[in-house]
Symmetry: D2
Subunit: 392 residues, 4 copies
């Protein structure tokens, strides 16, 4: 409902959004099945199919420059498109704008050599492969505090030997390569490691609350994993800086997609409230139901405005360090509230998997933790505010 | 902290805001005393003084067209200026953009005859007088449901006789005239009644939680109150329609001013947290304090964006019926949370009147009720959403 | 931490609790696996094993009278024991005090004929079989409003023919019989239907958010399901009255078990906070973590007192209609908050199934809906309060 | 509504409670006026009158041993009586069980010499005088961290010279004496200083949000304030230990009184909801109103149980260090929620002083700060929980 015209969205963009909406309703949503997310083969099949259809429909890769076959949308435009795609867990996959591939493309475009771009970026853009980003480690390694990085890369003649363990690596199952963050004696560095490398092993898919995560959350072991010098992505020692470059855009992109997901859950609940009768009147007539509906619209309205505002600042080249943190905290908690209310309105049906609502509720919960837990962002925000005496 | 540039605010406007900030800090804030609000004579004195200074500083009447001696600001621009003025409870008064005079000017400009405009609007614009808007009635009369209007206006030759009782009429104490809503046999109608009319009596100032309300909340009796035909404002029977015209702008304007007030409370709390030490460390180092600071910045960021967005829609001539209700609910609750946290951070000092924080906390509380209680807005929003199946 | 001595719990009971704690830690918790809940065969095996051990340990059937081989505990005593058992999802099963068998035993004991008791109650008490309670129906049938009952039982010579569909029937998968609520021309009536009846079919296990539910949530079809007259439980037409008899005890028993489950989640989180380090200090030193821990203890303390108080009233033979509703609303929401905080404290690990925390979080969520949604209870409570002007 | 019988309250106590209820309704409530709290003379007059009536009614000094003319009630019994008295801000005053006199009596009874008891305790018990407790200091002195104590007492021959400033000293206006906490070279020590002492000056009554505080919140200056050796209360150096002795009982007693106050606010709101009509139906029929009513009953039910439980532990001689902190945090926040909902239900009337609801709302707010802010208690509770690994 939030007015796009005030935010300067063109009619062409709104038309694209409407086509995407129709595409998602027709192609993505009917193919949704919870088990798909973890069945690499079936998923691969669906992904290829959807991507071909998205290409044909002119909806593919909205975030990429036209020179790379994308739609070349600004951040402000992407906000509208990604929300729309995000209504289905297959939507961002279909238009190839899903994490971790999306931020991996950013790192590869900015820092990849011509050869790296040809070998990894191009098939990623075409949608032929998936990838993952191996940063987080099990305790006592790098979790919310990346400086605790325990995975190491030691020099050997002509290359490096990587040792360590990564954990909760989204999309790892079935990924063709990983961008790995490892400690060298010259600082944290990014490496590209292919899935076929004998020193690279996806130990397991960590069972988790968010059933819809494509490629699951892998635990990966690097055991004497040898790579050549050309596996280094960008400059040695710049690993943390590069990780930062992807984090803010990734957070805001997540907000876009998850606003779409929460909006869909509430749409389903609204239809239910309009049709289900209890104690002689439709649920829609009950004020407690009404309050949940109104609060959800308010939550999503505020979420959109914060996300769009941050997007507009990114387009203007301004820093969004502060706003992206405020937005991530608010949106991650708001979409959980919305999905929780949707489930509550629907009663037992909202707890079942007969509708996607309970799966959306589960899928959104980790967003309050991933990409920086709310508590971490609050502390960081407030320390900056208090130190610089920022105006409330 | 919310970026004004993204919202297209010009540098000229930001300069005006900075001058106003300095003006409020130098002229308004040092003159704040809680008792001032109810001491008509002292307040009159201060108001005249401040208004002369505001005129001299080129900061007077931002909401009025230049043809009426105002600054001719758009709604989007006003959002920035009114927030700034709203940091002090004397700020909007100083620039003559405080309710109920502000919406009264709207009604008079839109519907007043040339004579009414000369007699009531001109001195109001100059700041020579104050006015009030007499709509609400004690139970069982018109409260949140205006259709329960009990005050009547009966025809008499050449005029009308008004009978009834009004209640919680903000600004009534010391008002030169009231715009009164009364039921006629042709529907609800607005009348202008002067304070000197023998049938008009301000019975009392209703003691209330919000000590800072200028002119208090009056209880007014109309007992055989005779007015001439020229007391009718606009057309007979259009009273409810005219009341609607002022309500949405009034709500959004309130949001602007109260964001300023809450921001000031948190500013004071931030300074306190940076300087007060407890158990060996500054309060600013404690995460529970930090969380309250961060949440307040997030609340105000979202509040500003919702308010600015509604303002931009009003500038574009679009309806904000839906957005103004969502914004009013969110902002009224958000500013209360912010002021509550500010008071909590400051401990016993936050409970005292040694700083304005506790007075701001009290002043903001009724905004969750005035201009439509949150519960009423939630029900109205949701019924529209569910009836029209609006997308979440 | 809540003092049992104040509530008059005997030392013998506290000793029993300590033995049960040890039993649960040693026998039940190590056997917990999410998949167990839906694998009827494996579960059967584990259940038999645990029940033999519980019998040997003198911990079996605390709720049953000693004449039926139980421990004969009062409600106040059960509160302590069921919480302890409830720490593991296998605990209540092990001591044969899990729903829906527990309330089914109540109905059978109160209203069963000697033959029904021999055929159904005795093996249930021994733990040889499981059962279910088939009341809820899919829309537009009986959900939170049982008067919408659509399943019918028509008379035939010497028996009845049951037709209808039941939905979200906990424990249906693998149940040996169901107590079914069906409409007759003499009012709603309870029938006992055996799983082998050709007219009885468990269509599917409804996939749901709460993975730990033993026997899942079945959808059951009754298609021309013929039963003899001796399948009627109690009197014809008393179905709703009998359902009420089980509901209040069932709610309070749920509270007991789920307090145990939430307590366990927070225990795990406390251990994590004491050992996991981030940004140079243990999580336990961070005030935001501390606030989550403190609030959880407060939530559980209040939950226990409300539950114990209702239990004590039941022991005294007083009605707990009002208190059981207040307790159910508070406890169902409190345990969800506690589990949510536990998961949040643990970060990504809290989202995984590497610990039971995320599974507990999912298992507790439906309690805000099952046994009467919070909204329904709030409305019912308030209408009684306002009608009878009950003192706040 | 909470069942007293389960908590073992005798019929005699419940009869006393009923008589007190009738007494408060007839004698205290009709005499309530906000201005009374700060008008020492008028208050004195009303207090004397009410106390005589309370003595005559056999309701005086429930907390004192019968040997001191009190009713000798246990803590568990007091919980019922103090809640009842606490419905009116004049109730605890009338039965002489209001702070700071009540905890001052505790200190005097435990540590006063025979002379001190005759000179200070006896007239206090009779209700002839009021007193205050001077501990808190303005920044950077002793606030929530008492170790920052800046007021000093230096030895002089035969006595002491006290210098310092105290702040937010409840009841200071019109107090006949103060128990003062001051630092000596042998540690913090309590002194009794009479109001007539030339070195003792109540500088002002600090205007504060809680208009109903009897004797206001004084700022007191000790300037070369000379006292004799017999002004020392108890042993030198034991000031902090004695302060602790009064704090836990004081917190729990506050909970009792404020539960009564919140209950009264909600009673008024219930009556309003039952009679006020809006949009064609009584407010009582609206689910959003119902939800506020139900949640308030749940909040007060939990508050009572936590308070009664702590009281029962105190009667049993068990430590309530942990429970009193949990109870204080919960109750202080719960009663604020209840009063806020009561005000919201009543709309503009709830903001006015035409009913006591808005004054109760203001009076309860500081309880989240006084006697240890919620944040402080949460941190202290959690550190103990995590350090000792207390079970949740």
């Amino acid at each position: 409902m939030t007015s796009e015209t005030v935010f300067g969205h063109s009619q062409a963009l709104l038309d694209m959004r409407d086509r995407l909406r129709e595409f998602v309703d027709r192609e993505a949503i009917p193919r949704e099945h919870a088990e798909l997310a973890h069945d690499v083969e079936k998923l691969d099949h669906v992904a290829r199919l959807l991507r071909e259809k998205a290409k044909a429909a002119g909806l593919y890769a909205p975030q990429l420059p036209t020179s790379h076959g994308g739609l070349g949308l600004s951040w402000k435009e992407r906000a509208v498109i990604l929300e729309e795609a995000g209504r289905s867990f297959l939507g961002p996959l279909a238009i190839n704008c899903a994490p971790p591939d999306q931020p991996n493309m950013i790192n590869l475009m900015l820092h990849g050599t011509a050869e790296q771009r040809a070998r990894y970026l191009e098939p990623l853009i075409r949608g032929d492969i998936r990838s993952c980003f191996a940063m987080t480690e099990p305790a006592p390694g790098a979790g919310s505090d990346p400086s605790m990085l325990k995975t190491t890369a030691r020099r050997k003649p002509g290359g490096w030997i990587i040792d360590g363990r990564k954990w909760f690596i989204s999309g790892a199952v079935g990924a063709a390569f990983a961008i790995v963050l490892a400690q060298t004696d010259a600082g944290a560095t990014m490496f590209i490691v292919e899935a076929g490398n004998p020193g690279y092993r996806v130990l397991r898919n960590i069972a988790s609350i968010d059933g819809f995560q494509i490629g699951g959350h892998g635990e990966i072991e690097f055991a004497g994993c040898e790579v050549n010098d050309d596996a280094v992505l960008g400059e040695i020692g710049k690993g943390f800086a590069y990780a930062q470059q992807r984090l803010e855009p990734a957070r805001i992109s997540h907000c876009m997609r998850f606003i779409g997901r929460a909006s869909r859950a509430m749409s389903i609940a609204q239809t239910y409230a309009n049709t289900r009768t209890s104690f002689g009147s439709p649920l829609a007539d009950l004020q407690q139901i009404q309050a949940m509906v109104a609060d959800s619209h308010i939550d999503l309205h505020a979420s959109r405005l914060m996300t769009w505002h941050a997007a507009a600042k990114m387009d203007a080249g301004e820093s969004v360090k502060h706003e992206s943190a405020m937005t991530k905290v608010f949106v991650s908690e708001a979409v959980c509230r919305v999905a929780d209310r949707a489930a509550q309105i629907m009663g037992a049906l909202g707890m079942s998997e007969d509708t996607p609502v309970s799966l959306i509720l589960r899928e959104l919960r980790p967003f309050r933790i991933y990409d920086g837990a709310s508590e971490l962002h609050r502390a960081t925000l407030a320390r900056r505010i208090l130190r610089e005496d920022l105006r409330p």
